[in-house]
């Protein structure tokens, strides 16, 4: 391993206090409090349009809150220099755009942006970070392939490699598994769990699959009505009442035979065995 890589566990603490965020007249988040502990994996769950993306975008200061603040180690992120923040906190948005014809290596290299000065040449540290990101995501074999030609699962790994090359201690990912088949979903989540375990990266992600969220996270945050409905370990958050209130869905919670955690079994109007 080269000395350029920061292998120490994250010590950065991210916190939101009384966040109120909206688009124009429309309020999406109101009075939201959240604390992300260093070195943990947190999943944000909630119904469609409940403001999960809005929350991530505010945490990474893409949006300015109308009220409240986002604090990184006690400093408001909205007053930090943008590149300094980008060296600590990385974001993989829901729908990133890959430029036409770009190769995997070039795309991953763009993750180095916050570490570069305007006229400073590409450095050995940049090379090492890109090589490491490609290795970690098992995309090194794809390095000179055009991104447009990859499958959905490969492409998602490449995007994750890009934010890895940014070498931030905190990683925010918006629906990193959406559009992937189930084996690729597991692959991506395993990769994130590796990162968290081996490098101590703090991970905050939006997931739709409650059961995978429960299995892969230290903490779940359930959003409802612009606030945190419940936050904590999956076993505490995922109750039948919570699923009812947050998703408007009846369900049974049983033990996950694989992980031992909670497993949500939805109850619809059909195919329900009597008794």
């Amino acid at each position: 391993m080269t000395t350029h890589l920061n292998l120490t566990a994250s010590t950065h603490e991210l916190r939101a206090e009384g966040l109120a965020v909206g688009y124009g007249e429309r309020h999406v988040l109101s009075g939201l409090d959240l604390e992300i502990e260093p070195g943990t994996v947190t999943s944000i769950v909630g119904a469609n349009a409940s403001g999960k993306s809005t929350l991530l975008r505010t945490l990474s200061r893409l949006l300015s809150p109308a009220g409240g603040q986002v604090l990184l180690d006690g400093r408001s992120v909205h007053s930090m220099p943008s590149k300094e923040l980008a060296r600590v906190l990385g974001l993989l948005p829901q729908s990133p755009v890959s430029p036409d014809g770009i190769t995997v290596a070039d795309l991953v290299g763009r993750g180095r942006h916050p570490h570069q000065r305007m006229f400073r040449a590409w450095s050995a540290a940049d090379d090492a970070a890109v090589a490491h990101a490609l290795d970690a995501t098992a995309t090194a074999d794809l390095a000179d392939r055009p991104v447009d030609e990859l499958s959905g699962g490969q492409r998602q790994r490449v995007w994750i490699a890009m934010v890895l090359a940014q070498q931030t201690d905190l990683l925010l990912l918006d629906e990193p598994t959406t559009f992937l088949d189930v084996s690729h979903q597991i692959e991506v989540l395993d990769l994130l769990a590796d990162l968290n375990r081996d490098r101590g990266t703090t991970i905050v992600m939006v997931l739709h699959d409650l059961n995978l969220a429960a299995r892969y996270s230290d903490r779940l945050v359930a959003l409802e009505g612009g606030r945190v409905y419940a936050a904590g370990p999956a076993s505490a958050v995922l109750t039948e009442q919570c699923v009812q209130d947050v998703f408007g869905l009846r369900s049974r919670i049983i033990d996950d035979p694989v992980s031992g955690g909670p497993l949500v079994v939805p109850v619809g109007r059909h195919h329900v065995a009597a008794g």
Partner: protein, 364 residues
């Protein structure tokens, strides 16, 4: 997005980070870098040859010794028609170089800022906005002096850019490429009919306007070049300084911001650079179409999507295209000349259709 079914076949084995996984092979970026540099060098060589051709070839045939003699006695009082012809070709060559480079870079920057592969100072209405301002200046305020035209052109270009962006941004999805192109087309139509309306009743100036509007570098003079040079220089520096920001913006606004880019500022500065370049180029040479559209597309095939390369390539190729068109215009209609704006359209249009047919034009 279409997902292909190749993933299982090519899925590499899982490797854990931080373990002694095989290091990735030497990154392919090094060889790509050399290849891109070689192409840029080749482009510069072609450009030098084109410059030589532009000085040597004209509607008046001057033989080699006379050309050499004329070049040797630059700065001295001009003697004879041969020498006069050659001396006149030098500012013309320089003008074609700088205008071509400016239009090529302006187009590349606009395509980057709007993430619109069809963006170009022509399509977004910038050139026509600049033209309208110049024509209004001529017709209503008698502004025929070169420095007046430059300011009017840049003013018109800037106003049009702001207007196009404002119109396209209305509504929820923001300034999408399609809405930008539509807003540009609408403003172009308005500006074109306005120009006609303004110029039509003015028989006294319409010839003046018409010759300027077709676009050309034939009337090049050192003082006009000197006047636009500062604008072009500032625009060019700003564009090159924006190259890395454009690389980030190409990944989408959210990701760009996540990478530490100040999105609105970066986009504003890049847009300003292309307005300066397109406006100043239009002021001296009239609205010249297709250079800003075709050149970045052709360059992208060789330079790839990195704007640091793309902008340099576009400068060289834009200069080359305009110079070649100008030289061609002097040859094919001897003893008369064809304006460069007509030729770039003749060369550019089929080339552009070819590009659109060859490559999927995304995001439109």
């Amino acid at each position: 997005m279409t997902l292909t079914a190749t993933s299982t076949a090519t899925r590499p084995s899982r490797r854990r980070p931080g373990t002694d996984a095989p290091r990735s092979p030497a990154l392919p970026t090094r060889t790509a870098w050399r290849r891109r540099l070689a192409w840029l060098g080749a482009g510069l060589v072609v450009l030098v040859l084109l410059c030589a051709a532009s000085v040597a070839i004209g509607s008046r045939t001057v033989d080699m010794p006379a050309i050499v003699e004329a070049l040797g006695s630059l700065g001295e009082p001009v003697e004879g028609l041969d020498q006069a012809a050659v001396v006149k070709r030098i500012p013309r060559t320089v003008l074609a170089l700088v205008v071509g480079a400016a239009l090529g870079v302006a187009g590349a920057v606009m395509q980057g800022v709007t993430r619109n592969p069809l963006a170009d100072p022509g399509i977004l209405g910038i050139n026509m906005g600049a033209s309208l301002a110049v024509v209004v200046g001529m017709a209503w305020f008698g502004m025929f002096a070169a420095h007046h035209m430059i300011w009017m052109a840049i003013l018109g270009a800037a106003l049009t850019a702001v207007l196009v962006y404002a119109i396209a941004s209305a509504g929820r999805s923001g300034a999408s490429p399609l809405k930008l192109a539509l807003a540009g087309a609408a403003l172009t139509a308005v500006a074109t009919s306005f120009i006609t309306a303004v110029a039509m009743p003015r028989g006294d100036i319409s010839a003046n306007i018409r010759s300027w509007q077709i676009g050309g570098v034939g009337g090049a003079a050192w003082d006009a070049i000197g006047l636009v040079a500062p604008f072009l220089a500032v625009g060019m520096l700003l564009a090159l300084a924006s190259a890395r920001s454009l690389n980030s913006l190409a990944l989408g606004d959210d990701l760009a911001a996540g990478l530490g880019e100040r999105v609105m500022l970066a986009r504003g500065l890049a847009a300003l650079s292309s307005v300066l370049l397109a406006g100043a180029a239009t002021a001296v040479a009239g609205p010249i179409g297709f250079v800003g559209l075709v050149v970045p597309h052709a360059c992208r095939l060789l330079a790839g999507p990195d704007h640091r390369w793309l902008l340099s390539y576009s400068a060289v190729a834009g200069a080359g295209l305009l110079l070649a068109s100008d030289v061609l215009g002097r040859i094919i209609a001897r003893p008369s000349e064809i304006d460069v704006g007509i030729l770039t359209a003749l060369i550019g249009a089929p080339f552009f259709i070819h590009i659109v047919r060859q490559r999927k034009v995304r995001e439109l």
